[in-house]
């Protein structure tokens, strides 16, 4: 007695989860509740959202509403228990719904086609009938030929006075929907793997420094298992504009004191080592840092020398000559006043770094001038020598996002399969075709019967073309 009730209960639960009605209700519920999180800024500072709420509902009730919303998890709603519960319910629905239907679909796919008993193909969705001269054998050979030319592999069933050709195409396309459903689960699984076993961190790494940890959002160190060094950071600008073209960090991975990998990363091109990926995310100036000027000096006859440890006021030689130069001044962002023609510094950031150089021959000053990092044409000296301002090094840090997401490949595979699933589901149809031939008084009666699970019109047209080829071949 109890046992019977049990199965009844389980059946009811099963049917509840297997229903498409539930799927539709869930889709709508998730959609509607999701809207909340697009209006209220997620994981934001309380003031931000109190401002939003007072704009929407008025200032007087904003604090009260904020507290209510906070309790309901609206401030981080996509991670709140009820939203996660909705997603879980959605997954259960997807799984059970698919299991509920899959056996039936597999049966349809596996089942061999059976000949249609009814002589005039009653109840078949698409039907086309014609009469051809010639006996059964002749017409059946011709029909077989036409079917082959349309790339249909058929089974031939012979009866006393008639022959039936059975053929179908695209039966596996019925699985497209389930591939799509499965892919959604795969993507969610990937997200779960990433959430459970991965980490999100950041790291602000000054030029020349090395770190063995990244930091979580609350500032806790996360060990990397290797060391990472920032060799240099640089911003590349568009020509004649202060608009950044690329943020570049030259990074090295160091294991046991040895450099094992080196890469210059830019936004959209990160560095991955040992499953941990470093993304270019921001940059800044290290407060109170002591920078070094890196200059590349090339003399007229091609002798090259790189100075990588110069300070303001330092002198250096131009190799192969009796000349020397001295760094007299530095500007992080040099501009020329349009009216007076005088140079001035327009920003504290390293937007347009420039050095003011004095050039000397045997101790006597020859001339002075600005050399700008972003404008290589300023590095040419009148004598044909070149002083290139390579970098003002050691004052910037690169801001890196540090991520470990072991689930991302599962997500990507899910993305590929969901695309395939949808293409199969929408653009391939399961077509079934029966052709019945029977000899009736010197001529042969041919009936085409077809059914398709979608895009019937196209199949009808294909059958029409077959009929025309079959008729045309006789003329």
């Amino acid at each position: 007695m109890t046992k019977k009730e049990d199965t009844g209960f389980i059946d009811r639960v099963w049917n509840f989860f297997a229903s498409v009605k539930l799927a539709i209700v869930l889709l709508i519920t998730i959609s509607l509740t999701s809207i909340i999180g697009t209006v209220i800024e997620q994981q934001a500072a309380p003031e931000e959202n109190i401002k939003v709420i007072s704009r929407l509902f008025g200032e007087s009730i904003a604090p009260t509403l904020y507290n209510i919303f906070l309790k309901m998890g609206f401030m981080d709603m996509y991670h709140s228990w009820w939203f996660v519960a909705l997603l879980l319910l959605f997954c259960c629905n997807l799984i059970i719904c698919s299991f509920d239907r899959l056996p039936r679909i597999l049966k349809i796919i596996r089942e061999p086609m059976v000949p249609i008993k009814d002589e005039s193909f009653k109840g078949v969705a698409i039907k086309r009938e014609l009469r051809l001269k010639g006996n059964l054998i002749k017409v059946s050979n011709e029909t077989a030929h036409v079917l082959k030319s349309f790339r249909y592999n058929f089974a031939e069933i012979k009866e006393e006075k008639n022959i039936q050709f059975l053929t179908q195409k695209g039966r596996y396309s019925r699985l497209g929907v389930y591939i799509t459903h499965f892919s959604i689960l795969l993507i969610l699984t990937g997200a779960l793997i990433g959430g459970l076993f991965g980490f999100k961190g950041f790291l602000n790494l000054p030029e020349g420094e090395t770190s063995t940890v990244a930091y979580s959002r609350n500032g806790n160190p996360i060990p990397l298992g290797f060391a990472i060094r920032c060799n240099s950071f640089d911003v590349e600008y568009y020509k004649n504009m202060d608009m950044p073209k690329a943020y570049k960090s030259d990074l090295s991975i160091i294991v046991d004191g040895k450099e094992v990998e080196r890469k210059t990363i830019v936004v959209n091109d990160p560095l991955t080592y040992n499953g941990i990926t470093f993304y270019q995310s921001s940059y800044g100036m290290v407060p109170g840092a002591d920078g070094k000027f890196i200059l590349k000096v090339v003399s007229k006859n091609g002798i090259e020398k790189v100075y990588d440890n110069l300070k303001l006021g330092d002198s250096f030689d131009i190799p192969g000559t009796s000349m020397s130069a001295k760094i007299l001044d530095f500007s992080p962002a040099l501009a020329i006043n349009d009216k007076t023609g005088k140079p001035y510094t327009y920003s504290d950031e390293l937007v347009n770094p420039a050095i003011y150089i004095g050039v000397y021959d045997k101790g006597a000053e020859k001339y002075r001038g600005w050399i700008l990092k972003r404008y290589p044409e300023t590095s040419n000296l009148p004598e044909g020598h070149k002083i290139e301002f390579v970098d003002y090094w050691g004052v910037k840090y690169t801001g890196l996002q540090v991520r470990n997401d072991p689930g991302v490949w599962v997500v990507y595979i899910g993305c590929i399969t969901i695309t395939l699933g949808l293409i199969i589901a929408f653009f391939i149809n399961h077509k079934r075709l029966w052709v019945r031939l029977s000899e009736e008084g010197g001529s042969t009666r041919v009936i085409f019967g077809g059914s398709a699970n979608k895009n019937k019109l196209a199949f009808e047209r294909e059958i029409e073309r077959m009929v025309r080829v079959l008729e045309g071949g006789r003329k």
Binding site: V20, K21, A23, I24, L27, I28, I30, S31, S34, I35, G37, T38, V39, E41, Q42, E48, V52, R55, L56, Y78, A191, K200, Y238, K239, M241, M243, P244, K245, A246, Y247, V266, V267, N268, D269, P270, T277, Y279, Q280, S281, Q401, R403, D405, V408, V411, Y412, C415, I418, T419, L422, I423, F426, F427
Partner: protein, 356 residues
């Protein structure tokens, strides 16, 4: 150079819209052919303009496909919408849909002009320099254009299937159409009002949205705006059936409308999916997060869900006709909201989003 061709195409599409609508009114075959010719002419010009803009960006040393800012994406949306429309017109051999599809193109183009968004070819900030982004924009807008067509045919379906003014679907579509007209008119008034005072052009819509009408400091103008809107809804509700009679006279079959709605959604849905995926891949290569529940992502998911409901309702629950036509209209409203509403309305509340 490209702007001349863009100008010609904009004028052509707006002319085509008027001609298609007069075709609807007069039903002369010649007018229909004329409308199509003008559309094709506009389309050719727009194609040339897109290619020119592409090559211009290389000349400027920026070098990228014209698919990276709001202006370019809206232009591309119009281009694909017209392309899909022309294919449908060719396939179904009727000019009637034109009167419903070209206004969507006209609306997008008018929006470009009214918002005063930047049309310059600007260099890209580092985060936007990604082929995934180009793929994302292209695929998404192909999808949006397909949904645009399904919206038009879905709306026509609803109009044709309305019998009386008390019917739910009749009230639904008259309100939808009214809101479209009201929003566009309010944009227009804002534009005229603030054109003179606003220095930064793109600020008109972002900062003064509806300030000349619904959000006006003067209570009187405020009230009048709401009353006029209510009046418009009422007028449309009162005389909407005339539109039905007009459409009816073309002996359009509702089955064909239903079929086109489905087919365009069947094209749009995989494209939307792929658009979301390429966007996620781009986000992952740029920041290491493929999904962060930001409002744009969330709204694209909501759009995806609405069309998923359409498909399940249609295939599994056997919904046909009115119910799914309503969903096709709602789906496109969500598309527009994902694309513009998130930037315009939600970014007014928050600090992110930019009309650039």
């Amino acid at each position: 150079m490209s702007s001349t061709f863009f100008g010609i195409s904009t004028l052509s599409y707006i002319a085509a819209m008027a001609i298609y609508i007069s075709y609807l009114a007069f039903k002369k075959k010649g007018i229909g052919i004329f409308a199509t010719s003008v559309t094709v002419f506009g389309f050719i010009n727009q194609t040339i303009a897109l290619l020119l803009r592409w090559s211009e960006s290389y000349r400027l040393g920026i070098g990228r496909a014209p698919l990276t800012n709001l202006y370019e994406s809206l232009i591309f949306f119009v281009w694909t919408l017209i392309l899909i429309y022309l294919i449908i017109e060719f396939k179904y051999k009727t000019h009637v849909f034109g009167a419903f599809v070209t206004p969507i193109a006209g609306l997008a183009l008018a929006f470009i002009e009214l918002s005063g968004m930047s049309k310059n070819i600007e260099p890209l900030v580092p985060a936007l320099q990604s082929n995934w982004l180009i793929a994302h924009v292209m695929i998404s807008f192909l999808g949006y254009a397909a949904f645009g067509v399904s919206f038009a045919t879905g709306l026509m379906y609803l109009i044709l299937r309305s019998d009386n003014r008390r019917q739910g679907i009749y009230i639904f579509w008259t309100i939808c159409v009214s809101i479209f007209i009201i929003i566009l008119a309010a944009f227009g008034i804002d534009y005229i009002h603030y054109k003179a005072v606003s220095s930064g052009q793109e600020m008109i819509i972002k900062e003064h949205l509806f300030e000349s009408t619904f959000k006006n400091p003067s209570l009187a103008i405020d009230t009048v705006s709401w009353l006029v809107s209510a009046g418009l809804i009422f007028i449309l509700w009162r005389y909407g059936l005339a539109l039905k009679r007009l459409l009816h006279s073309f002996s359009l079959s509702v089955e064909i409308l239903d079929e086109i709605t489905y087919k365009t959604i069947a094209i749009g849905f995989p494209l939307l999916t792929l658009g979301v995926i390429t966007g996620a891949v781009w986000a992952n290569t740029a920041w290491g997060v493929y999904w962060s529940w930001d409002p744009k992502e969330t709204w694209s998911l909501i759009t995806w869900f609405i069309y998923a409901v359409y498909l399940h309702g249609r295939f599994v629950r056997g919904w046909r006709g009115k119910k799914v036509a309503v969903l096709s209209v709602l789906g496109f409203v969500a598309v527009i909201f994902t694309y513009l509403g998130v930037n315009l309305l939600l970014s007014g509340l928050h600090s992110y989003g930019s009309m650039k």
